[in-house]
């Protein structure tokens, strides 16, 4: 059933502090809406529980990408287009730039925001594994002040996060220390644009003295939350990449995830593909080393 607009309120206070004041006065009473690529879909389907919304679209305070000596701070209101077009993000955080390219189509990239995707907390969001791989921090803000926490701790369970009802994500903070890593992102879905992934992988790694070092594997659509494959990482690090290792890595990765059967795919398929994607990444990592 389509929603009746007369039953909804939408306000646009225009500044971050005014929005935070509103959220503080009535925590949980207002649902923030940025570019609407998720909220408006629920609204149109008549499935949006919130009746009062506050627009945070295009708030200047949330739309900056600040680059300092050792960190890049991406305002939570930056769109996927903003990410694609940013020189430092493209050069140093290619996993984020390439996953931004296959999030939705151009129109959704022009409106969808990184902060919105994090809060929407879909386990299938294409760009979130990249944030896990880069060990991103989130800067949260409320009228009470700011707090910073590792993004890896933010998702508690399916669509449950650490965000308090009076808080917004202010920025996503990335340490500038990954330019020397081999980066590899892959999406497996019905098609690249628009289609939601069956499995997506964002991976980083290095080879030092012939063995793998600091391999980082993060996957989407295979668990209730975007997932870092920490156990698989521990088992591959320090080892040489050969046929036997690739075979084991497939097994480790496919048993570390918690996939389900749903409209897009099956648990069995997701487990097989996750193993294959991890093996593909490791093979390429070995090739880049061989080519040096």
């Amino acid at each position: 059933m389509r929603a009746n607009p007369a039953e909804y309120e939408l306000v646009a206070p225009g500044t971050l502090s005014a929005v935070l004041t509103l959220l503080a006065e009535e925590p949980g009473g207002w649902l923030p809406i940025a570019g609407g690529t998720d909220v408006m879909v629920q609204y149109a389907a008549g499935k949006l529980a919130a009746r009062r919304l506050v627009s945070i679209w295009n708030l200047e305070e949330l739309r900056q990408i600040e680059v300092s000596g050792d960190e890049v701070r991406i305002g939570a209101g930056c769109t996927y287009t903003d990410l694609r077009e940013h020189a430092v993000v493209s050069r140093e955080f290619s996993l984020l730039a390439s996953t931004a390219r296959w999030t939705g189509g151009i129109a959704n990239q022009n409106r969808g925001t990184l902060g919105g995707n994090i809060v929407n907390a879909s386990p299938a969001a294409d760009s979130l594994p990249a944030l896990l791989a880069y060990d991103a921090d989130l800067l949260l803000v409320s009228a009470r002040g700011e707090r910073r926490l590792p993004y890896g701790t933010f998702h508690l369970d399916y669509r449950k996060t650490l965000l308090s009802p009076d808080e917004l994500i202010r920025a996503i903070c990335l340490k500038r220390r990954f330019s020397g890593y081999y980066a590899h992102a892959r999406k497996v879905g019905a098609r690249t644009a628009q289609a939601i992934s069956k499995v997506c992988l964002a991976a980083l790694g290095k080879i030092a003295s012939g063995v793998m070092a600091d391999v980082r594997l993060a996957v989407g659509s295979v668990a209730p939350v975007p997932l870092r494959l920490s156990a698989t990482e521990r088992r591959v690090n320090g080892k040489r990449i050969d046929g036997a290792l690739l075979k084991s890595a497939k097994e480790w990765a496919s048993t570390e995830i918690r996939p389900i059967d749903d409209i897009r795919s099956t648990a069995e398929y997701r487990a097989a593909v996750t193993g294959n994607l991890v093996a593909e990444f490791l093979e390429r990592l070995a090739e880049t080393e061989a080519a040096r």
Binding site: P5, E9, A44, G105
Partner: protein, 165 residues
């Protein structure tokens, strides 16, 4: 009890449409798509899926391609909206429209306004896109008639003729 039509009240929301200033009296959460079609009579903007998947309702909002089904009209306040109706001038088709016509890029016509506006923003950013760039740029616009080949040819042809967004 208040009439549900006025629960949160309508308000005046002003923006530019195709170079003209308009003020609509609408609920803040009304979709820009509905306001364009029903309040302003601009029915060139089509509704397909209503959930941002198909691109039929694409318009340019401050020069940027958006799905108007996902934009609450209040977020258009103070902005400039361009719809397909803005493209032809004094009875002459825009080069993109002409190329779609000649190449068979339009069949049933439902996706065509969105396709052309997406191509418009592409040519605005990149006047000589290659085929991969055209494919990527139009990938959020679905067509169930043409098989896409004629659409891609039309955009290439328009670019060859020096069309701009």
């Amino acid at each position: 009890m208040r009439d549900s039509e006025h629960q949160h009240g309508k308000r005046d929301i002003s923006f530019q449409v195709n170079g003209r200033s308009v003020t609509v009296h609408a609920h803040a959460m009304e979709r820009l798509l509905d306001v364009l079609r029903h309040e302003l009579g601009l029915t060139g903007t089509k509704e397909g899926c209503g959930e941002g998947e198909c691109g039929s309702c694409s318009v340019l909002l401050d020069g940027v391609l958006v799905n108007s089904c996902l934009v609450p009209v209040m977020q258009a306040q103070g902005s400039e909206v361009r719809t397909i109706e803005s493209l032809s001038a004094s009875g002459r088709l825009h080069a993109l429209q002409q190329a779609f016509l000649e190449c068979g890029g339009a069949q049933c016509g439902i996706c065509t306004p969105g396709m052309i506006l997406a191509a418009c923003q592409l040519l605005d950013k990149n006047p000589r896109p290659n085929i991969d760039e055209i494919r990527e740029w139009l990938s959020g616009n679905l067509c169930r008639c043409t098989g896409y080949t004629q659409i891609l040819e039309a955009v290439e042809e328009a670019a060859r003729r020096g069309a701009t967004g």
